[in-house]
């Protein structure tokens, strides 16, 4: 008992582990709050598609030897978020097909770029850590942490300010429009926030797993609560618990951080499903 506690104390005396903790709490919180809206609006696939776009952008950024990859990844992902949402709504283009194409295309091109142009000796290692996050979160610099603190502060502030309107647009778009709420603008806002969360989360769990942080806590919370505010708050709490537990476990057991966090989120979902099923009896 005291063995692993003292080991944990040692680990957390390192600043990079503390940075990882801060970032995982923030990313978990932001992803889960927006996740409720995304899941309910049937937008979860857009999050998944965007994470692949972010992977492609990351590959391009490493190709260009950018000092800070976020400078490229963030605008590209935000742009794609806006485009995907637009095509998803138009009846003429098959929205799901477009998203599948963009997502797979970005994945393929990103891998191709990394393979053909990479100067690194360990291409598959690079690809793997971009996709699954692996150890990259432990190489966070104070600047990375500052960026994600600022980004998540912006996300949280926007979410709080527009909470009631986001609810209205999520629950009933037709009604929201009819009463003069600019639904398009709120969709845009939601898309931009998703993109920001995905870019932030890439460092934590990698681009393949980030959608898990968006979807699992939201679904878990819906098993337990029936009000929108209750579900949103619970989703945030569960996600933070999952992220912190996952991080601690991965540090102790030397497992990949992203995959461990997602595994904990899955476990939480199972527990919540059981509790929900028992209570509904």
């Amino acid at each position: 008992m005291s063995g692993w506690l003292s080991r944990l104390a040692v680990y957390f005396s390192y600043p990079f582990v503390r940075y990882a903790l801060i970032v995982s709490v923030l990313v978990g919180l932001c992803a889960a709050l927006l996740g409720v809206t995304l899941v309910l609006k049937r937008f979860s696939y857009i999050g998944d598609g965007l994470s692949h776009v972010a992977f492609g952008a990351m590959a391009a950024a490493s190709l260009l030897h950018l000092a800070d990859a976020t400078v490229l990844i963030l605008p590209v992902t935000v742009l794609c978020a806006v485009l995907l949402l637009k095509t998803g709504q138009s009846a003429r283009v098959r929205g799901d097909a477009v998203i599948a194409m963009v997502s797979v295309g970005a994945l393929a091109l990103g891998y191709l770029l990394m393979n053909v142009f990479s100067v690194s000796s360990n291409v598959s290692g690079d690809v793997c850590s971009t996709l699954f996050g692996s150890a990259s979160i432990l190489t966070l610099t104070p600047r990375d942490v500052a960026v994600s603190v600022v980004l998540s502060a912006v996300v949280l502030a926007l979410f709080l300010l527009f909470y009631h309107r986001i609810f209205a647009v999520t629950f009933d778009e037709a009604y929201a429009r009819a009463t003069g709420l600019p639904a398009e603008r709120y969709h845009l806002l939601i898309a931009v926030i998703i993109a920001v969360i995905i870019v932030m989360g890439m460092q934590l769990v990698g681009s393949l797993l980030i959608s898990a942080l968006v979807i699992f806590p939201a679904i878990s919370a819906m098993r337990l609560f029936s009000g929108f505010r209750a579900v949103t708050v619970c989703s945030g709490v569960l996600s933070v618990i999952g992220s912190v537990t996952g991080l601690v476990l991965s540090v102790l057991a030397a497992t990949p951080i992203g995959a461990t966090i997602v595994a904990v989120d899955i476990l939480i979902l199972l527990i919540c499903s059981v509790i929900g099923a028992v209570r509904r009896r």
């Binding site: 309910l40 009463t179 609560f225 029936s226």
Partner: protein
């Protein structure tokens, strides 16, 4: 004086007119039912009145001091809503957003308004319940309460009774009539032609031929007789949900 005046409207999608030559007016306290075959442009007309889709030609005028924000709307239910985790109160309160301009949170006035509207619809006792656990009729009353939060003068209802059982249908019709008698103008798109002739003061029939007039005139008109008898032929005499007055 008329609240809503439509003059020689042409409505359609992507440059293709669906309905043309539409002229009618709605006065305060009227109960207008909009009937017609599927695809005849009923929902398009609703969208045009709400200002969501500009008419291809013609005009829609709001008069008598009627503001767009004073028109309440009861849209058709969507898939998203059926399993949506939200409390009744949260949904009804969202009807107050239109009046809040740029304010971020609900104030005391909005909360009171939401309570009053829930009380009027007889759902105050279920304000904490989850929307998806309610029956179809209760859900419609929640959405009506939400519409009342934004509308003091006019309610636009898009097929409010579709999917309801006969009892819930009758209850909803009576609730709508009560609102109408309290002075709220009702515009209702419906397939329930029998109920339309029973409850409505005016009927607008759109389709191959356009009819606008009082409910009695509609029963005597060629369009109305054709539509009514076709309806009876399909449904038999007991097919209408709103028959019991």
């Amino acid at each position: 004086m008329a609240q809503i005046v439509c003059e020689d409207l042409v409505l359609g999608y992507e440059g293709r007119p669906v309905v043309s030559g539409l002229s009618f007016e709605v006065k305060a306290g009227d109960y207008l039912c909009i009937v017609g075959e599927n695809g005849s442009g009923k929902s398009t007309l609703i969208k045009a009145i709400l200002g969501l889709q500009p008419p291809m030609s013609g005009r829609i005028l709001l008069q008598d001091g009627l503001q767009p924000s004073e028109i309440g709307y009861l849209p058709q239910q969507t898939d998203i809503q059926r399993d949506f985790p939200a409390q009744v109160r949260e949904i009804v309160q969202s009807g107050c957003l239109a009046r809040m301009k740029h304010r971020v949170f609900f104030g005391r006035a909005e909360k009171k308004l939401a309570r009053d509207c829930m009380e009027r619809m007889g759902i105050l006792d279920m304000e904490k319940r989850c929307y998806r656990d309610l029956s179809g009729g209760q859900q419609q009353r929640v959405l009506l309460a939400r519409a009342l939060c934004s509308a003091q003068k006019v309610l636009l209802l898009d097929e409010p009774v579709s999917g309801l059982d006969p009892n819930a249908t009758l209850e909803l019709y009576q609730l709508i009539r009560k609102l109408n008698r309290e002075g709220i103008t009702i515009l209702m798109v419906t397939h329930d032609i029998m109920a339309a002739t029973v409850y409505a003061s005016h009927i607008l029939h759109i389709g191959d031929s356009v009819f606008f007039g009082t409910a009695e005139e509609y029963g005597r008109s060629r369009t109305g007789r054709g539509f009514l008898s076709a309806e009876e032929g399909i449904l038999g005499s007991g097919g209408s949900g709103g028959g019991g007055l």
